[in-house]
């Protein structure tokens, strides 16, 4: 068996020489197929034994959804992961990625010890060092930078359950530049639009009540293809119970195939379609006026504003027949309020994203789908008073990313920040030089808003790159010092408290001791902090935080949590509007804002893009011989993090380029031809050729590839250079309201290999 295809058992065999920790596991490694000795074969007897092993409770870290996981170990070796039936995030199921979590732990390609760079940046030459040496290195390198440029010269990127610790470290050092890519590279615009309309975001654990819905109108949110388990379940369940599905997407995704109506819309015109629906709803008196009168602000203004957006107008923009727009608007309204209009999750597309989602939010408001079954449910907090966490004072320094009051993007939340703002600041040295990055579980070279070229240039401006990660991502390979994090199966984390339809607490406990010389993120950040004499901020370890739960939970609750891994708080009402309870809307008017007063001033000063009600502007279009570059999720991989996981790589290790048959004919291409992508703006040509997939499933004028591939890190012996990195070909736009990225105005040429 080659090194490139290694099973867990194979891994364990290879690892025996070097690792004492797991040797015990190997000698006793049980397998139903190996269990019987050669002596006497009782045909099939071996198939009756199953040692489930020891259970520890955990939650998944293969993606941000954090499904409940029961981890089963036999003799100290993890054998199997299974979903925790009691966890509302997944109800016992795991997706392919979740099931493949073991392979990410038993992986010789992981970062195995603290490392300091010895070769050139990105060359991949490191020396193994002790933890003390690595901590001291950070101090030695960072301190002069802080002296010269101020603490704000450090910018931090975070993604993962250990986020509180780099956050704490950065604040304690005095830098305000803390960013979470989930905002500006993913759902920032969507959350902004929802908050401006309803006073609260959709949240990471989205509040669509799909299982009970009569009609789901989905604007390119691929529930079946991106697989966050509960949502995929709810989507399938809603359809099985007979819900209509209107699915709007230039690409026929795994979700689109289940649609009652799949509307293959012109890219960049989702807002026009939503405005067309709203026009019909108002024109034909289809709005839920009871809800509108009670809870909405600005219906008269909206009525006036929508007059110009007729279905005929919308048809011209979207390419969807006007009769179809009318019919679907009527059908949607007929089932109100138990309907839901759903925007994309990663809504970083055309630079009009906040306003597009505003239009979709208005659709929900007009249906009165807020707080009712089948519409949008209300999240409830875990009803406990946790001791308040003490944080360092907010640093005085101005942020570098343009987020927050008085900055270019005053509405962008400083708790999440704008990664794209930090990239740009690092590149341009404005408003001040960013000289150090701390990367926790993030990988800008695979997904950013200034493209791969931009990131390479930004890296050149850095004097220090610190990485905390389980694996060598493309960007971690450029780090000066690397701290290896234990995987989620090897470490404690703080209790996971989820505000939700049914709120709950869940726990992560290590199933095994770390295989390599790794630590949890808490210990790593505390170790760095100690060098700066700031470790007092790191008072309670994750394990101690778990134990501390006994101060707020009853003995019985504590027992349940220990036994089940989950503690539910079920006495809640997710449907206030259906049960006569007046909901709270935390907007500036206290109402659902069809008209957003908060935007008035910016609208006057800066124009249509800030209109209190969405105004449609035509998207920028590719030139005649160019294609719009679209990308999206595959069900088989998580972000750009899982493409070295052998079992997931088996499911997908390439990124065929989808092209419409009419375009293919014009270009003289046929299905299966090998092609390169060339960025129309920068001229960058993809590193290697890809197979052309000629299909009606993609709209004319656009091409599509899956996200997360094309890694340049040679440390990934299996995932290296598999597929193409779409980030070479995306646009560097910005949504003017949220400040989040806009990727889908990137154009490519498709040339024959």
């Amino acid at each position: 068996m080659s090194r490139h295809n290694i099973s867990r058992r194979g891994f364990l065999k290879l690892a025996t020489a070097s690792s004492v920790a797991i040797t015990a596991g190997i000698t006793g490694l049980p397998s139903p197929l190996r269990a019987s000795s050669k002596k006497e074969v009782k045909k099939g007897a071996r198939f009756l034994k199953y040692d489930r092993g020891v259970k520890t409770t955990n939650f998944c870290e293969m993606c941000f959804w954090n499904c409940g996981v029961n981890v089963y170990t036999r003799n100290g070796v993890i054998h199997k992961l299974e979903g925790n039936k009691l966890n509302p995030n997944n109800r016992g199921h795991l997706c392919a990625k979740g099931n493949a979590g073991i392979q990410s732990t038993y992986d010789a390609d992981r970062v195995q010890s603290p490392l300091i760079r010895t070769g050139n940046r990105g060359e991949g030459k490191f020396k193994k060092v002790s933890w003390e040496e690595a901590y001291k290195y950070v101090h030695k390198k960072l301190n002069p930078l802080i002296d010269e440029y101020g603490p704000e010269t450090l910018a931090t990127f975070m993604h993962g359950t250990g986020e509180p610790y780099p956050h704490m470290l950065t604040l304690a050092l005095g830098s305000p530049n803390i960013t979470i890519p989930a905002y500006s590279q993913c759902l920032g615009s969507r959350e902004m639009a929802w908050a401006l309309t309803f006073g609260t975001g959709v949240s990471g654990h989205e509040t669509y009540d799909m299982a009970n819905s009569k009609h789901m109108m989905i604007f390119g949110r691929n529930f079946a293809g991106s697989v966050q388990v509960r949502e995929t379940e709810d989507f399938a369940e809603g359809l099985a119970r007979g819900a209509k599905l209107t699915y709007i997407d230039p690409r026929q995704s795994e979700s689109a195939v289940r649609a009652t109506d799949w509307l293959q819309i012109n890219p960049g015109t989702d807002m026009a379609l939503a405005l067309g629906f709203i026009h019909v709803i108002i024109r034909d008196n289809l709005a839920n006026m009871d809800f509108v009168r009670k809870y909405c602000y600005g219906y008269n203004e909206l009525t006036e504003h929508m007059k110009k957006y007729s279905p005929q107008w919308a048809s011209k923009k979207t390419g969807i027949d006007a009769k179809t727009i009318e019919r679907i608007a009527w059908e949607f309204a007929k089932d109100a309020p138990n309907v839901v209009a759903i925007p994309a999750r990663r809504h970083t597309r055309y630079g009009n994203d906040t306003q597009t989602v505003r239009a979709i939010a208005i659709l929900n408001a007009l249906m009165g789908s807020w707080g009712v079954p089948g519409g949008i449910f209300i999240r409830n907090k875990v009803p406990l008073n946790f001791p308040k966490e003490e944080l360092p004072d907010a640093p005085d320094a101005r942020r570098a990313d343009g987020a927050g009051k008085g900055e270019k993007y005053p509405l962008a939340p400083i708790t999440l920040g704008r990664t794209n703002g930090i990239y740009k600041a690092t590149l341009t040295k404005k408003p001040y030089p960013i000289k150090a990055w701390l990367l926790y579980g993030t990988n800008p070279l695979s997904h950013s808003s200034i493209g791969v070229n931009g990131i390479y240039k930004a890296l050149d401006n850095l004097d220090l790159i610190i990485a905390i990660d389980t694996q060598f991502s493309d960007t971690v390979m450029y780090a000066d010092v690397i701290f290896p994090e234990s995987t989620y199966l090897e470490r404690y984390d703080a209790p996971f408290v989820q505000k939700d339809k049914t709120p709950f607490i869940t726990l992560r406990k290590p199933a095994i001791k770390p295989i390599y010389d790794t630590k949890g993120c808490f210990d790593i950040c505390k170790g760095i902090a100690k060098e700066f004499e700031l470790d007092d901020w790191f008072e309670k370890s994750p394990k101690e935080q778990v134990e501390e739960l006994s101060q707020v939970l009853s003995e019985e609750q504590m027992k349940t949590l220990e036994k089940d891994g989950v503690l539910l708080f079920e006495d809640v009402n997710p449907y206030p509007c259906a049960s006569g309870v007046t909901p709270d809307f935390a907007t500036s008017t206290g109402k659902v804002q069809l008209y957003v007063k908060d935007l008035e001033e910016m609208y006057k000063k800066q124009g249509d893009e800030f209109s209190p009600m969405p105004i449609f502007k035509d998207p920028v279009m590719p030139a005649k011989d160019e294609f719009r570059m679209l990308f999206g999720r595959t069900p088989h991989h998580s972000h750009a993090r899982s493409q070295n996981n052998w079992i997931l790589l088996e499911l997908q290790d390439d990124t065929p380029v989808w092209m419409n048959p009419k375009d293919a004919k014009k270009m003289g291409y046929k299905d299966g031809d090998m092609v390169y992508l060339v960025n129309a703006k920068t001229g960058h040509k993809s590193d290697h050729s890809e197979r052309l997939k000629v299909t009606n499933r993609i709209k004319e004028g656009a091409v599509f590839i899956h996200h997360g591939f094309g890694h340049t890190t040679k440390a990934w012996t299996r995932g290296y250079e598999k597929g193409t990195k779409e980030n070479w070909f995306v646009s560097d736009g910005v949504d003017p309201i949220s400040g989040a990225a806009a990727f889908h105005n990137g154009f490519v040429k498709v040339v024959r290999a």
Partner: protein
């Protein structure tokens, strides 16, 4: 219910019933199965797999559907018939088709005979390997690994002789029932159904 096999007598009539349109094609089953049974890391080595089938409807619109596949535990199993050593055999009590690795000589005749491509050669075991309907798990009170993890709750497993079982109910309520390659005379035990809830 003429589709249910009645040719051979079994105490238990174990079957997999797959609600076709609940499969979202996520391949969780593929990974759960490979992990539980240490199926080696090789493309083509798997006990269950989901195929994505692209097509066109009458209006020339593109369609795709997902087809989960596994061993059909046929009542008339060609793999058992061709096995020269008796390593491939069908259990009398419940109809599960197994390979006893100690008896397998690796001639691969069964792999050729299987119309469902449900077997692979396991180099670590030096034997042909395949789906066991998770016999080790179900013998110990658990559902098969693929059923346990199925995100769309598409896969269902149980005893058709038990009228109250989920699978028996699904077959009673089904608006359509299909089995793969029945014309080959295999009498398969994996059912693909559509259901109106």
């Amino acid at each position: 219910m003429s589709l249910i096999n009645k040719k051979i007598k079994k105490d238990k009539n174990l079957a997999m019933v797959i609600v076709g349109d609940r499969c979202v094609g996520c391949d969780a089953c593929y990974v759960a199965c490979k992990t539980d049974w240490d199926v080696p890391a090789l493309k083509g080595a798997y006990r269950t797999k989901v195929f994505e089938v692209e097509g066109e409807d009458i209006h020339k619109n593109p369609t795709i559907s997902f087809l989960p596949t596994l061993c059909n535990h046929c009542d008339s199993a060609p793999c058992v018939d061709v096995c020269p050593t008796g390593a491939s055999f069908k259990r009398d009590e419940d109809g599960i088709v197994l390979v006893e690795p100690e008896m397998c000589i690796g001639c691969k005749a069964c792999m050729v005979a299987c119309p469902y491509d449900a077997r692979y050669y396991n180099e670590e075991l030096e034997a042909v390997d395949k789906c066991t309907f998770c016999l080790p798990r179900i013998s110990n009170g658990l559902d098969p690994a693929c059923v346990t993890t199925c995100v769309g709750e598409s896969r269902n497993f149980g005893d058709l002789n038990d009228k109250d079982s989920n699978v028996a109910k699904l077959l009673r309520d089904a608006t359509s029932i299909a089995k793969l390659k029945e014309d080959e005379g295999t009498s398969p035990n994996v059912y693909y159904v559509t259901v109106n809830y």
